[in-house]
Symmetry: C2
Subunit: 411 residues, 2 copies
């Protein structure tokens, strides 16, 4: 049997017999001829059937033996003629909406309820190629900067990192929790590898039903040692964003320019511009500041730095010049907080002071800092937020294969 | 300030002033001179200190300003002279064992209890570079074969895949479970992308305390559509193993040769050779068969195919010629089952028949097959088993940063 040809490669086989395989994407029966559009992982091809037999329904899996014929009017400039069809697998029921229509007609709940079939729609499927390319760009950038990829526990013994919104697990009869982030582990591993990253699931028992929160999402985490302060972390993040954008651009998807120097706005100055005096930024503030960065700096990315210590986690390093403010940052991208990061405390004594009476709950974490840790910092980037903002989709669920949230545990 | 030089790059800076930074790996105080060995992520360097001051203890984080001087007797051919030391962070307690000794003197429990500092030992740390390189080889091989990387839910609604050894979660007041594998999702995604892979954590509430089981491990999963039978899956796996080995070899680590054609032994023939008539292979059988493959075929890899249907999961595709046996395989590597895989059922009606009265428990899974699925199959490779066997370490815990098992939930 001749080997399978992907539809995207058909123009290189004009005049030759081929075997293609895929799904019946669409059928159109005319008086003397039937046109099938066959879909495979590379694209689609038009198949001309002369037979009088009724063509199989959409989403039937078929193998087609045919000849590649040039036809300037056919999509891609070729079509398949003298075709014989071998059905490999028939659908038991039709899709919940027509996958062959150029636009997606279904609502988000319908798409999510029927994800295994809905995601076959070319527009929906394409989003996940973007997501995969972005992750590849994240990794290749960090690999090039001497980072080591790691895999850390998702089951942890205590809910101490943030204290709230954790999922409990029965762990061989003991109470355990799903990790909300690899924060403690990536810091510990700076002591081993200096520079580490992890791409993996994180879990938040997020009680709010919003367009930007999920109970499980993919976190792109990095942490590095021997930094001067958070600006060294921001410089690595800038390289990572450029690498991710470049990787996505290779798919032919429009990406924003990542400036050589992403503009930085001090938190207190942001408050002054907003005419506010709050300890944190509200979503509306983030949108306003993003617009400002585009207007003033022509940048779709904006660093906000120097958040008040009171609003950052206990491991945050203060700004030595103004200890009520921190060496931390958020990165805003198109109106949304995409990345959070900063310099961490690294001295054992500083952790003892920061934790105060809570010291006992942090035994394992403190042990890390008992053995000499360099100044370090890092960041966490939410993959779904990145892809959603990049593609201009409103809800992170639209760029998650099988989202988990307050209401959704299937499929 | 001049930028930091890694110790591995010092030979390119002979005669020049440099700034290096890292940990005090070892100190040796002689009468008129003190030698420090400085460790960073790239290796170690010898520092010559003329000062009378006591050198800082091992694991102190220091910055060293010095001159690079050629010295054929020093490790790497250079040493750092005219050195001044700036301590960045002092240890609060010594490591649980001497990290500077060439061999690791600590027991496995000591190493695991103190992983954040124990893993700094160059021999222990090096294992994880091997692990990271292997994963990079897995991904790059599959990227080259048109696979799409995916991220699937680790929180699932039912414990139906294998029924036993699952961890329960309180999911917003509902009972949920940690995913034991991405099996159902990767199959569903064959309908979308044809070829998918995932690198991620899987969870087994494994009640046995053995050297080869963990409660969380990193599974390298792949699944592909439009196959003839399981041999197409085995061919992809062969490429993946070769890619992983090549990636590890680039670190200078000795790797086994992956034969162009990995020998295949039919399960029934294996039983005959073993003089047995069992439905599965015992660990001792796997070791014997591995030895046999080395003797007979000069291969450290062996495919055992055609396991009895009775011992494989319900979604396994039977061998059409002998329906009591399956189109499945295990890959043995150095005496251990490293990979399990095979062809899956793809027709809706076949799933209905295979599930019988259990159909209702598999609603979501069945929906996947209602919409036209191609013949497909895949495999799952345990990263820790691979690294352990490759490096010849006895226990998978030795190649896991922070293992989780029946007894261990920290650090």
């Amino acid at each position: 049997m001749i080997s399978r040809t992907l539809t995207a490669d058909l123009p290189r086989h004009v005049g030759a017999p081929v075997r293609v395989a895929g799904w019946v994407h669409r059928r159109r029966r005319l008086k003397s001829v039937t046109f099938l559009v066959l879909r495979d992982r590379s694209g689609t091809a038009q198949v001309v059937l002369r037979s009088d037999a009724a063509p199989p329904p959409e989403e039937t899996v078929v193998e087609v033996h045919a000849t590649v014929t040039a036809n300037p009017r056919a999509p891609g400039g070729v079509e398949l003629t003298s075709a014989t069809l071998v059905p490999l697998s028939e659908p038991a029921s039709p899709p919940p909406f027509d996958l062959y229509r150029p636009a997606v007609s279904a609502s988000l709940p319908t798409i999510l309820d029927h994800a295994p079939v809905a995601l076959r729609h070319p527009l929906l499927k394409a989003r996940f190629a973007v997501s995969a390319a972005a992750v590849a760009g994240f990794r290749s950038t960090l690999d090039g900067l001497g980072f080591t990829e790691t895999h850390t526990p998702k089951i942890v013994s205590s809910a101490t990192e943030s204290g709230a919104n954790v999922f409990g697990i029965d762990y061989f009869g003991r109470q355990a929790y799903l990790a909300q982030s690899p924060q403690f582990y990536k810091q510990a591993l700076v002591g081993v590898f200096e520079r580490v990253y992890e791409v993996g699931p994180v879990f938040r028992a997020e009680p709010h039903d919003t367009a930007r929160h999920l109970a499980q999402y993919t976190s792109l985490d990095a942490e590095l040692g021997f930094i001067e302060d958070h600006h060294d972390v921001m410089a690595v993040l800038r390289e990572v964003l450029a690498g991710m954008a470049e990787s996505v651009a290779s798919l032919g998807v429009a990406v924003p320019e990542v400036p050589a120097e992403i503009p930085e706005l001090y938190f207190a100055d942001a408050q002054a511009m907003l005419g506010k005096d709050e300890p944190d930024l509200a979503p509306a503030d983030e949108r306003w500041l993003s617009d400002w960065a585009v207007r003033e700096h022509g940048s779709e990315f904006l660093f906000v730095t120097g958040y008040p210590m009171a609003k950052r986690p206990f491991y945050t390093h203060p700004d030595p010049a103004r200890p009520a403010y921190s060496n931390s940052f958020d990165l805003l991208f198109r109106g949304l907080e995409l990345v959070t990061g900063g310099q961490r405390l690294h001295r054992h004594a500083d952790y003892l002071a920061a934790l105060g009476d809570d010291v006992e709950a942090y035994d394992d974490y403190l042990a890390v800092f008992a053995h000499g840790m360099p100044p370090h910092g890092g960041f966490a980037l939410g993959l779904e937020r990145w892809t959603a903002r990049l593609l201009g989709v409103a809800n992170v669920r639209e760029v998650t294969l099988f989202p988990r949230d307050l209401h959704r545990l299937t499929p």
